[in-house]
């Protein structure tokens, strides 16, 4: 076994030498979990596609500081915000070059026209590019931009002004999100003239750290370093994504050295990975929350005492140990600890089946009742095995006299039915899009969320709603934090959710890889990475 491995490794090295022109060229292979849906991030909302498109190829006006949810200047080097919070004036960076590829040679550098193109295309229904690719811009609509934006104006080649309809403190972090990536207006013009606008989704051009080379469908994506990248030329010369859908196979490849970084390991393999001398298992608290929502529109969950009782009856420590192998923390807040507004030492519903029975009796259900419990069929970062978790909770609730029936559907159908409120109780969770509390609290617990199906508890509490809506418009961090503290306390009192966990996210990385920084929002970034 060892001999073949060494031989294999030598062969690998020998085959790579010809690639070097003088100095040894550095390559990195990333084992990714799926195929990208395309290379224009404006159309999509999944991390797999973003890893392959917006993150290596493009930049945004504002960027997240790697490893945090703080943001810093990107393509915009500075900005001014008016006192009423309605006008944002961005001063664009000069000297940013568009990538040169076999299908496009830029004649100019990045300027305001590119910003206008990228946003107007998603916003204006009469824009010549709006319908290209189907006209469905998931995240642009999902983040409420059509309602939020009032106007976008080009003041000069390097100044763009955004006017909003209402102040929104999440606007800047929203601009750091993948859908807000800046595309090339000149490339767009070229494609439109050639009559092939759909090529923007297959042969991308960006300003980002890596240049797209080619994509072998469902197999391999190749990138090479952008020598003109405005921040710093990446240390890796050739970046390769090897698409490997099965997690065990990804691990085998990583162990064999066929890839150096892999995404989403199997929780069951974590201990094996830790024992491997060549692999470092990086970990980070995930920007996520897993919860059990109780549908307040259905009896008996309209009674707050019932909800509180059921929360008290769940042994969350056992859940963390069994489902997560200990690799998660019990959630008290509906937002993870790193997010603004988190209440430390929030009074929580610690495991107390005695008190649960009392409360249930007080509510008039001394003999218990029957309920359903919906569990997802797929593994999610905040819940690797919902069905198993459901079984644990079933036995917890049985102890206080509540009979549970576990219900499950195929993932697409599950989402549809829980959005329509067909459940009495259901599991779900959320991974933050931009690190902003509004992204969690307003979307998942606000009154608007009931109609759009994101508020699974269908809980519309006026006091809570007022607080989170007000916090959207306040720009002072401390003031916002106070508003969210109050809102979260109301949430805890009313208990529409049993907050379950914030899971740890893991990333196996071979020791030859240096400077890899994990992103709390689950993205995989390679521009700062080096290999030995």
């Amino acid at each position: 076994m060892r001999k073949s491995r060494i031989l294999g490794a030598a062969l690998v090295a020998a085959l790579f030498l010809p690639l070097a022109a003088g100095a040894a060229s550095k390559h990195l292979v990333f084992c990714s979990e799926g195929s990208p849906s395309g290379f224009n991030p404006q159309f999509y909302d999944d991390g797999t596609t973003f890893d392959a498109s917006s993150r290596p190829l493009y930049n945004r006006l504002v960027e997240f500081k790697l490893g945090t949810t703080d943001f810093e200047p990107g393509l915009a080097e500075s900005w001014d915000i008016s006192d009423d919070g309605l006008t944002y004036t961005f001063h664009l960076r000069k000297g940013v070059k568009w990538q040169t590829t076999p299908w496009f040679k830029p004649t100019r550098e990045f300027n305001a026209d590119d910003v206008l193109y990228s946003f107007n295309r998603q916003w204006k229904k009469d824009h010549p590019w709006h319908q290209v690719g189907g006209g469905n811009y998931q995240y642009f609509a999902g983040m409420g931009f059509p309602k939020l934006l009032k106007a976008i104006e080009k003041l000069d080649d390097h100044t763009v002004r955004f006017e909003l309809n209402a102040p929104n403190s999440a606007f800047l972090p929203d601009l750091a999100m993948d859908f807000a990536s800046i595309l090339s207006a000149e490339y767009a013009e070229q494609l439109m003239e050639a009559g092939t606008p759909e090529q923007m989704n297959h042969n991308p051009v960006g300003t980002g750290p890596f240049v797209f080379v080619n994509y072998q469908k469902d197999a391999i994506i190749r990138y090479k370093a952008n020598p003109d990248y405005f921040v710093e030329r990446p240390k890796i010369d050739n970046l390769v994504f090897a698409i490997t859908p099965d997690a065990s196979v990804r691990l085998q490849k990583t162990k064999a050295g066929e890839c150096q970084v892999m995404s989403f390991p199997n929780p069951a393999d974590l201990d094996t990975i830790k024992k491997d001398a060549d692999i470092e298992l990086m970990e980070q608290a995930g920007l996520n929350v897993g919860y059990l929502a109780m549908n307040v529109e259905r009896e008996p969950f309209d009674n707050v005492k019932v909800r509180q009782a059921l929360a008290l009856a769940v042994d969350r420590k056992t859940i963390i140990d069994v489902i997560f192998n200990g690799y998660a923390e019990i959630a008290s807040n509906p937002i993870p600890p790193s997010v603004l507004g988190y209440v430390k030492d929030l009074q929580d519903y610690d495991y107390d089946p005695e008190r649960a029975r009392e409360l249930l009796a007080e509510a008039g259900y001394a003999d218990g009742f029957e309920t359903d419990l919906w569990a997802m069929p797929v593994a999610r970062p905040y819940n690797p095995n919902a069905r198993r978790m459901a079984q644990l909770i079933l036995s917890d609730w049985e102890k206080i006299g509540v009979k549970t029936k576990i219900v499950s559907f195929e993932w697409g159908e599950y989402l549809k039915r829980v959005a329509a409120g067909e459940h009495q109780t259901a599991f779900l969770g959320w991974t933050g899009d931009n690190g902003d509390p509004d992204n969690f609290l307003y979307t998942l617990l606000g009154c608007d969320g009931v109609a759009s199906g994101t508020n699974l508890a269908r809980w519309c509490n006026d006091a809570f709603n007022e607080l989170v809506t007000k916090a959207q418009r306040v720009s002072d961090r401390d003031e916002r934090a106070e508003l969210y503290h109050e809102a979260i306390r109301i949430f805890k009192e009313e208990a529409p959710w049993i907050t379950l966990d914030h899971s740890t996210v893991f990333l196996p990385v071979r020791k030859s890889v240096k400077n890899y920084v994990m992103d709390p929002m689950g993205g995989h970034y390679f521009h700062a990475v080096d290999v030995d």
Binding site: F43, D218, R222, A242, G412
Partner: protein, 337 residues
């Protein structure tokens, strides 16, 4: 013979028509719709949902949508994928050669091992060899492909390091796709290193995929041979003093072939299905994986087009099998219908 072929070809039209109805209808029977699945966890407001459904034409009455689908078909347009936003035909055919290559190699493996194994088992009926072959066939038939595939990977790639873990080719080779078949493209471009890399990558998935067809073909060959070997003409041939291999290999086998061909033809259809699991485990970039993804995401055009195309392929294979009967068994082609 000509009438025979004509008769078979004439049946294609109603079959294809039926296929279009099934392909169109099946995907719409699945609960959920593309807009909601695309919105995913973020949800979509009822107005936006209605807006998008209208945009995609999914709010039209079903018969209208079906006619639209048929109309597109007649113009050679299978629709545009809701996910990749490119034509379903191009999505399918860019992945199809990979599935064909894998399925073909698996089928050849199954035939080259299964046929002789079945023949010898029949000739040496009751012997240790016979029992071993039948036992192995039963085991192979009962194993779930994904488990077997993973086992192969862990042992041959992980433990022994003899084969690569997954994929079609090592990452650093870049081969211009000419035919889409790696084995041919690498040789056509003179890249022998890449050729051997492609071969090494093919071994495990082909073995995994070939296991069930191999088992089926071995058993079927054995039982067909047993039946034939018991016939009078075989006894006559032996009595005439013909060499045993002539008796078995020429006379007996030819007559035993009809059921074997039937079963092989059916296996091709199953190969496409098995390819889905094998493709996922071995990250083989073929049609099966693509189709399953499309179903999960309710990518109606891709599912419709994909199911239709795969069904057409299977139909063509079965047609060839039918025609082959005519070639091999004179009784069939000369029968007055």
């Amino acid at each position: 013979m000509f009438r025979f072929v004509l008769h078979r070809l004439a049946l294609i039209v109603p079959t294809v028509f039926g296929l279009t109805v099934v392909a169109f209808g099946l995907v719409r029977l699945i609960p959920g719709d593309p807009v909601r699945v695309m919105a995913g966890i973020h949800g979509v407001s009822p107005e936006r949902h209605a807006e998008l459904m209208h945009q995609y034409g999914f709010d039209l009455p079903l018969w209208q949508q079906y006619l639209g689908f048929l109309n597109g078909l007649l113009h050679g347009d299978l629709g545009t994928s809701l996910i990749t936003r490119s034509s379903v035909l191009s999505d399918f055919f860019s992945r199809f050669p990979a599935t064909v290559e894998l399925s073909l190699v698996a089928l050849l493996l199954a035939l080259f091992i299964g046929l002789p194994a079945g023949m010898i088992a029949a000739v040496k009926r009751g012997s240790l060899f016979d029992h071993a072959v039948m036992g192995a066939a039963l085991t192979g038939y009962s194993m779930p492909i994904f488990w077997w595939g993973l086992l192969l990977i862990v042992f041959f790639s992980g433990y022994l390091g003899w084969t690569p873990v997954s994929g079609r080719m090592d990452a650093w080779f870049f081969i211009q796709p000419i035919t889409g078949f790696m084995l041919m493209d690498t040789l056509l471009q003179g890249e022998t290193d890449a050729f051997w890399s492609a071969v090494r990558h093919l071994v495990l998935p082909a073995v995994a995929l070939a296991t069930i067809p191999l088992a089926v073909i071995a058993r079927q060959t054995r039982s067909a041979m047993l039946e034939v070997l018991g016939q009078d003409y075989v006894r006559t041939a032996r009595a005439k003093g013909l060499a045993p291999w002539r008796v078995v290999g020429l006379h007996a086998l030819r007559n035993a072939l009809v059921p074997v061909i039937t079963v092989t033809g059916l296996q091709v259809g199953l190969l496409f299905a098995g390819a889905i699991l094998t493709e996922t485990i071995f990250s083989w970039p073929g049609v099966g994986k693509w189709l399953v993804e499309a179903v999960y995401r309710r990518d109606y055009p891709s599912v419709q087009g994909g199911v239709l195309l795969v069904a057409l392929m299977v139909m063509l294979v079965n047609l060839s099998v039918d025609l082959m009967y005519g070639l091999i068994d004179p009784r069939i082609r000369h029968r007055r219908s």
